[in-house]
Each structure stands twice: as C-alpha cells, then as structure tokens.
Amino acid sequence: MSEMSRLKFYCDEGRCIECDGCSIACAEAHELPAGINRRKVITLNEGKEGLEYSLSIACMHCNDAPCEQVCPVDCFYIREDGIVLHDKETCIGCAYCLYACPFGAPQFPREGAFGAKGAMDKCTMCAGGPLETNSEKERHIYGQNRISEGRVPVCAAMCSTKALLVGDAQEVSAIYRERVLARGHGVQTSPMTWSRAYGAK
C-alpha cells in the first residue's frame, strides 16, 4: 500500500474536439442542478490559426490542494489514491476554496437563507463522498460513486476521441508519451490487409 498510485486527469489538447460531451455526461450522471458544471470545456486562443485548442477542465485533484489548506472548517480530505473530496455536511459555503483554487473549480448553489451560498460542489472524480459507499444519500448529495465499482469516471469513459484520460498518474503519462511519439508516424495510406491480399504493389 506504500506505493499507492495517484489518480489524475489529463486532457490531450491534440484530441479534444470541443464536443462538450464530458460536461453533459457529468451533469446527467450526477443529476447536477442547473447552473452547476463540475466539468467544462474551454477553448484557448480562440480564432488564432494553429494555436487554437480546447481542453476539458474540472477539479484537478492537486497534490498540494490549496482548497484543503484554506478551508476554515477542514471539510476536505485527500484519499490515498489522491482524489480530493469534501464533506458537504461540514462545508459552510464560505467560498474560500474558490479563492484558493487556480482552476475555478468550486461552485456554490444559492440555496441558503436570503440567497446565501450553499455547500460547495465540485468534481469528485466519480468517487462520491464520505458517506456510506453507494448509499442512496451519497448518490443524492455527491452523485455516482463509480470508482468504488471499478468503473472509469463518466466524463473520460464517454470521451469519443479519448482526449480526456484518467487513472494512475504514471499510466496516464505513459499513454500520453506514446501518443506524442506516434504523432506523425505510422499513418496508414492503404488498408492493413492490402499487401497480403494483393502483394506489395
């Protein structure tokens, strides 16, 4: 258990086609209220030829999670596998985590008295929360707990171009490295079986 892997997201900007499927899959899978987007797709350098690319972003589950450092009620906890989660029943909706977050991930539904901010909501990497795993209450408050069932987070699972990767940080980086090395090589100009069926020429 000492060499526990750390789960990470990585979005391959060479593959993301800005279809927005990940954020919609996320919102649907977790039945998020309108106005809360745990995941969203952003486009950088929009309109600049050759420089424009899109990325899917959400909570990045940081190693040194600044949200966890500033929380006045200490409602954050980092799992052994690196997933950053928080206890919504302890959260007071002060939004300090949003101020600390470099990615603007924490969001706040207006549900408290006089339109005050309610408990924070963010990406859980489909790992639920501190409640009983896969209980009705956990699903209601935090959304699906797919990790506990060995399933891939819904955003990455449905990504049609497999731009959005999730998993053990080293494995994700190995896949990405392979992609980078393969880029521009091995492009098939004729079908695989052509030479076998009709000869080299």
Partner: protein, 296 residues
Amino acid sequence: MKRKMIIIFLALTTAAFAADSAIYGEELITNILGYGKEGSLHLGQWFTVLQGKYFSIGFLVVALGIPAVFLIHYLIIGPKVFSHDRKKIPVFTIFHRVIHWIAGVSFLVLVPTGFIMVFGTTFGGGEFVRICKDLHALSTVLFCIAVVPMLIMWFKEMLPTMDDVKWMMILGGYLSKVKRPIPAGKFNAGQKMWFWVCTFGGILMILTGAVMFFQDFELAIIKSMGLTQIDFLRLSAIVHNILGMAVAALFFTHIYMSMFAIKGAIHSMITGDKEEEEIEILHSTYYKELKKQNKV
C-alpha cells in the same frame, strides 16, 4: 401571447446571465493561465498562505492575548473608580445612544459569529457554523443602518488634536492608579482610534463582506483597474480578515474599558450622563471647556 413572450424573454435573459458569470465564464481561462505567472498579482497564493497559516494565528492572539493582557491589568493596576455622588453631566443624547446600540447589538453578533467562522473546525463546521455565517450576514444590515449616522454625529469631536499625542505618550494614564487629569477632549485618543477603525474600517468590512456574499457579479470600476473578479474576491477576503482582527481587538478593548476598567462607565451609554469626576480626570480638556461655558 404577450405573457408567453415575457416568459421567453425572462428565460433567455436569466440564461444569458448565468453564462456571463464573472468567475466561471470567459474570465476563467485568463484566470487559469495567469495563476502564479509573472506579472500577475499572486493574490491566489497570498490568500492561500495567509488563510492557510496566519489568519487563524492572528485571530487566536486577538481572542486570547487581549483578554489576557486586560486580566493582568485588572489584577495588577485595577479599575478606575470615580465618585458617583457628584453632578451627572449629560454627554450622550438619546440619538447618540440609539445609534450606538444599534451598532453595539450588531457587533455583539458580528464579532462572535466571525470568530466562530475563523475557528470553524473547532466548532465542528456544519449547521451551527452555517447559521453563524447567516447571522453574520444578517447583522451586517443592522450595522449598515448605524454606521453612517455614527460617522456623522461624532465626526467633529473625533478629529485628532494635540491632546491625543499626549494621551498616547502616557497610554491614557491606564498604567497607573493615580488620579491625575488626563489630556483629552470629549473623546480620548483611544476612543478616537476605535471610532475611525469602526466607521471607516467598518464600512470597508461591509463592502468586502458584500463582495464575498454576492460573489459573482461584475463591476466596471474593478474591471477598469485591471482586477479580475476572482482577484477582487481574494483581495476582499484578505482585507476583511486583517480589518476583522483590528476591529475585534478594539471591540474587546472597548468592552473592557466600559465594563471593567472604569467602574460604571457603561451607564453613560444607557442614561446618557457621565459622572463629573470621571470627566474631570479622564477628559480634562473637555471639563475645562464645560467650566468655561458654566455647564459644571
């Protein structure tokens, strides 16, 4: 038909509003790219370090250190006791007192609930701290009502004078038991310090608090200063916390002075009258003025 149009219009405008978020909208990209980069204000990191480490230490010093200093003062030097048999001099009108107590009641809620939020972990978070957060916001409304009239009604008497320098040099005479006339007008330098921190600092705290409460909005003036909304929120939180320490420290001092250090001083804010001897000693310049006007 008309009704339908209105509903469609409302639906469209609210949707546009949601998409136009000043935090999660287009600014998000610049915020992510700019975080921690050279040329940025580094407010994200500043806030993380300050809130993560230093604010709670500062508030702990205020919450424990200041009462401890006063306890030592009370035990070693002791309170000032003035004769209650001499004339009573009216100093605070009914208007003064009403405004003072509106602010006073709001502070009695604001300060403890603020501390509960700072030490939220100690109080277990959750429903209790959440209610305190709501009370903190709600009692701000009371303070809003009081702060402007208070600023106006005492403005002139709170302007600094030469007496204040002399008062500061001897710390208002609170370090000795001897009853010597202390250089001060109607208000001494300590009260003035409290007044300015409470009014201007208080207004700044209302504004920074409101920024954090409403969170997602756009102000042209902020934008024109080159400050993004998220940096504005970070700056507000930093300012609110630092001012909070100053206000809380002076609030505890105010309570100690009125309730313990000067016996019976709090009655002047209830009846409006101060003891003649108290004015003669603690506000000697004011006493001389009253004498000139034959009011004593």
